[in-house]
């Protein structure tokens, strides 16, 4: 499923959940409106995970969360992990921009929403920039960031440890491989090379 365009965003008041309407394209070329939802605190959690207060970057991470997978146990620093993740998003974006210009250039956001038959509150929300709406409702909460940073650091440390263990196992295999190679070489040197085999045929001797 490709993301073509982020159409609008609104905070659903009953559940206090952020609703983002996106136009998406399926592998068979058909298009429809996708409702993406997340809790407003999600941005604060991602802020802890990537150790950043850059709301634009965090909103981008959220909008592409179902299109670009995060490396959850990365042993990279938070800044490097964010940079890598945004790099992946940029690649996806550049592909989608080309698709979008081909298929939906003539329709306005309101047209798309009206045509799909979504409730009026989503159509009203299209008047505002969805990214600004998300930023307004999902302010970074320092208390949550502080709580989540410990877990984020622990997971990075676990990731590093895991990678360290893999390296150790690799090193062990390398030692074993080298030993095996050496022993094979020794065997090869010990056995004289056979260049030809002399075959002598004997007639069966009959007894009696």
């Amino acid at each position: 499923m490709k993301l073509l365009e982020v159409i609008c965003a609104r905070l659903e008041p009953t559940t206090n959940i952020m609703h983002v309407v996106k136009e998406v394209e399926m592998p068979d070329g058909s298009r429809h409106l996708n409702l993406s939802a997340f809790h407003p605190e999600t941005l604060s959690v991602r802020a802890a995970q990537f150790d950043t207060t850059d709301l634009d970057a965090l909103v981008e991470v959220m909008l592409y969360s179902d299109h670009v997978e995060e490396d959850t146990n990365s042993n990279l620093s938070p800044a490097a992990a964010l940079s890598l993740h945004r790099g992946k998003i940029a690649v996806v974006k550049s592909t989608l921009t080309k698709t979008l210009s081909k298929v939906t250039a003539s329709e306005t956001k309101v047209d798309k929403l009206t045509k799909a038959g979504v409730p009026q509150e989503y159509i009203d929300a299209a008047a505002e920039d969805p990214i600004e709406v998300i930023k307004r409702h999902c302010q970074i909460d320092d208390r949550i960031v502080k709580l989540c940073k410990r877990e984020a650091a622990q997971r990075r440390s676990d990731g590093q440890q895991e990678q360290g263990n893999v390296r150790k196992v690799d090193a062990k295999f390398e030692v074993l491989r080298q030993r095996e190679l050496i022993s094979k070489t020794k065997v090869a040197k010990a056995v004289p090379k056979v260049t030809h085999v002399k075959v002598t045929l004997h007639k069966n001797k009959r007894v009696g």
Binding site: T15, H32, A37, D66, E151
Partner: protein
């Protein structure tokens, strides 16, 4: 030899108190006194330790009781931590009880060990006011029972044990957090969402990015009738469900982390 000689003492035979008995008694009392002094002089640098009517009481220098080991049929260690909450105390205690399982299942005699937080108004009544752990012969219960009228919750292993139909039964009393993930290490992500008309798919992004695979188990409620639908994407950060048509739906999910 000596004992025989004492026993044959003519004064003892006359009903008088033997001097040796007096010395033996004195020696016993001296030893008891010495032990008490040892406890008093070596274990306490600040505060008080008192043995009173079989209970051992530890108090601060101003006589505020902070710990009591209660003797009797219901032995009990009570902790009266000082600080911000004087309405509750902690305790570890044990009792032998008969529990009536009701509905013809009979009465079960069991030893019951408790660890928990209790209302400090009447300590001996052990009125639960918070978390507690109850370990019985055939049952283990981790529970939260507030004393303010709020609903209690529990996790119970081998519920109503001894009664065949219930053996091995596990009970959870409470509910799951709807659309909220406390940590990326939690075992389950649960939610229910109403998707209005006009949409052909729904994506939920977890509050936390999960540390390992989280498997979406989704139920789609479409009151208008049959509909084609499937989960079209899943990751540790989100999942997407896509369906045919654009009628309003309710989507319930119950995703375990693996």
């Amino acid at each position: 030899m000596t004992e025989n000689r004492y026993r044959s003492d003519p004064r003892r035979q006359q009903g008088k108190i033997d001097l040796n008995d007096i010395i033996i008694d004195m020696h016993r009392r001296l030893r008891a006194g010495e032990t008490a002094l040892r406890i008093g002089n070596t274990a306490i640098e600040d505060g008080n330790l008192v043995v009173r009517n079989g209970d051992i009481v530890v108090s601060l220098s101003d006589d505020t009781e902070v710990m009591r080991i209660v003797h009797g049929d219901v032995p009990d260690i009570r902790f009266f931590a000082t600080g911000v909450d004087s309405d509750r105390f902690g305790a570890i205690w044990g009792e032998d009880v008969s529990i009536d399982l009701g509905s013809g299942f009979g009465i079960v005699d069991t030893t019951q060990m408790h660890v928990g937080v209790y209302d400090s108004t009447v300590p001996e009544d052990h009125v639960r006011d918070g978390g507690s752990l109850r370990l019985l012969v055939d049952d283990a219960i981790l529970e939260y029972i507030p004393n303010n009228g709020d609903t209690d919750t529990h996790m119970r292993l081998n519920t109503y044990s001894r009664v065949d139909p219930f053996k091995e039964v596990i009970t959870f009393k409470g509910r799951w957090d709807n659309l909220y993930d406390f940590s990326g290490l939690t075992a389950m992500s649960v939610g229910s969402v109403d998707v209005p008309a006009g949409f052909g798919s729904f994506t939920w992004s977890y509050v936390q990015t999960y540390s390992t695979t989280i498997a979406p188990i989704v139920g789609l409620v479409n009151t208008a009738g049959l509909v084609d639908w499937t989960i079209t994407a899943m990751s540790t950060a989100s999942f997407t469900v896509t369906w045919s048509g654009t009628l309003a739906k309710t989507l319930n999910f119950w995703n375990p982390r693996l």
